[in-house]
């Protein structure tokens, strides 16, 4: 369970406040969507939950299963179960995707006091997960995300999510840059991971993604806070009327 209370955040070396007393709860097994116009602070929220250092938390708290994550380094948060599928995944030069995946999985296992994965088990897991997402084997040998298309990068994010099996998955605009077929594959990948002990925070600008990943709850974000919460029908409503009613242009 993720609980965010009165989260107030500014850019670390500027006077610019972006999150203004944001409150949000995502229960175990819940799929929550956050919708909001560009610039409302959605990516900032995801970065602050994941522990990026460019931001300064002025007030509030973020609890994961009752534990305050604001005191933890980003890698410790990952090991505790937080996963962020980036809006713009980064390129890691010189490191084969396979090598990266193994290093990440073992680092998290080590942080949790578990043994390293055996190579044959690792390869089996990766191949199975990659097949489901339609990721070709030769891509796994290439440096992570280097020269990948936008859609390939997004699939690679979901592959990592599947392999790291986090309890709190945050997807930041995973639909952007995907054509309809890729969108379906990615959504199926996410749906397959839905589980009682796994929560999702699906951030999107458009309703389109939510046709495929059907949320339990929809939150509307504007100017750095949650301004309305409802069921999945709220997304359809927003699609029609736009964000104007919430004090912002669509």
């Amino acid at each position: 369970m993720l609980e965010i209370r009165n989260l107030t955040v500014k850019i670390a070396d500027e006077d610019k406040q972006i999150l203004n007393g944001l409150n949000l709860t995502v229960n175990d097994g819940e799929v929550a969507a956050i919708m909001g116009p560009n610039g409302s602070g959605k990516s900032t929220l995801s970065y602050v939950i994941a522990g990026k250092e460019d931001y300064e938390v002025l007030d509030g708290e973020i609890l994961l299963n009752g534990e305050n994550v604001l005191e933890m380094e980003a890698d410790a948060r990952a090991a505790a179960g937080i996963f962020l599928a980036f809006q713009y995944p980064l390129e890691i030069p010189g490191v084969a995707t396979m090598t990266f995946l193994k290093a990440a999985m073992n680092a998290q296992r080590k942080a949790r006091g578990e043994d390293e994965l055996l190579t044959p088990d690792f390869i089996k897991q990766v191949n199975a997960a990659a097949d489901k997402l339609g990721i070709a084997k030769d891509m796994l040998r290439r440096p992570l995300n280097v020269g990948f298309s936008g859609g390939e990068k997004k699939r690679m994010e979901i592959l990592q999510m599947a392999l790291l099996s986090p309890s709190m998955c945050i997807l930041d605009e995973t639909d952007s840059g995907l054509d309809i077929d890729a969108l379906r594959i990615v959504a199926e990948g996410v749906n397959a991971l839905r589980a009682k002990n796994r929560s999702f925070l699906v951030i999107t600008h458009y309703q389109r993604l939510l046709d495929h990943i059907v949320p339990d709850t929809v939150h509307v974000m504007s100017k750095g806070r949650i301004v309305k919460t409802g069921g999945k029908e709220l997304a359809l409503e927003l699609e029609k009327s736009g964000y104007a009613a919430y004090g912002e242009a669509a």
Binding site: A74, D75, A78, F86, L90, A103, M105, A107
Partner: protein, 490 residues
Amino acid sequence: MAAVQETIDQVKSIDVTEYKYGFVTEVEVDKPAKGLTEDTVRYISARKNEPAWMLEWRLDAFRRWKTMTEPTWSRVQYPPIDYQDLYYYAAPKTGASPKSLDEVDPAILATYEKLGIPLREQEILAGVAPENRVAVDAVFDSVSVVTTFKEELKKAGVIFCSISEAIQEHPDLVRKYLASVVPVTDNYFATLNSAVFTDGSFVYVPKGVRCPMELSTYFRINEQNTGQFERTLIIADEGAYVSYLEGCTAPKRDENQLHAAVVELIALDDAEIKYSTVQNWFPGDAEGKGGIYNFVTKRGDCRGKRSKISWTQVETGSAITWKYPSCILRGDGSRGEFYSIAVSNGMQQVDSGTKMLHLGRNTTSKIIAKGIAAGKSDSTYRGMVSAHRKATGARNFTNCDSLLIGDQCGAHTIPYIEAKTATAIFEHEATTSKIGEDQLFYCQQRGLSEEEAVALIVNGFVKEVLQQLPMEFAVEAQKLITISLEGSVG
């Protein structure tokens, strides 16, 4: 992954602000007054009991050097060096040329032990398979203090000793080959070296002999304000093979120290020389104070048909590096290789690269250069590949990659290509990538710590070059690279 883990553990266990080889050894030394005159040259030559021809050769070099000016074409910047404010010779008083280990000052033996280089053969022998043995020539300031495994090498016909000893014992070989690759007046620093060189290694591998073990020289600058002028000469006769490794460290000192070396390699028909360097001179502190000025001329001559010379270097130290190990591909079908990792951090400046001069027919060369720049450092790769009119069928492949860590450092690639025959095929590839805070955050989000992330990216980047080093040194070099990059991000 095991190696990555080892690297991380190693990094964690050390104090990152400390250059761990920065200690000073207290030994009584013998040195002339500061400054450089004809008398200094005579003093050095006399101290080494050199024959008259050697003294004449040095004096000739000295006279020529006085008419030359320091080069300014490189991208490195440093205040003018006052050549009159340096010591040109410093030798431990005890055992300037000891016959056995028992005669070496225990303080010096302890120094090498502390550096991880045991010199007692018995200790090296214990638990090491014969093929993994390494013979060491230990050079302390201006003199070679000891060379190990000499007897065993002699059985195979291999000569491995200090250059001073070679001048006494093998004058014909020295006279035949010295300055036959790097002429006395090749460049300012090479000429200076010719006048005042103090010690270095000499290797001769006779016809058809495969040297039975790795040879290595370990250079240590200990004395203050003392230049180290190393001179190394390696000859592989027809069909011979030798692999040689050079390592270096120096104490932490506030003032800059000068290391101006000349290394010459000669490979005759079907011979092969593999020359590896792991250079870890004191780089200076974070503000750029102190550190070694490393001005080096290294050149290999593939004189024979189908001969091969391969340079591998891992450069992490020195305040300033000015170094271009090169190959002259004279013999038909000869091959030159250059594999390099240059790591710079803090205020370090590196201007390095190679030259491949194709003179013979069907000569081939390969250049793999990996530059990693972090902190406020500046790294330049300068490569020259040329094919002579007669070098038909010459081929070169160059791959030159730069990795920038953070956004305050710089990397530059300056290739020069010159083909005077239409049949030459030269290929050049270059990439620049950057690791910034965003990439590191991405890795951390997947569970890797910042150090693990840097080690993972850097190891992937340098793998191809590390594979060229003998195994034990590859592991050492990998640790060294990670340690040099500690604290380079965030």
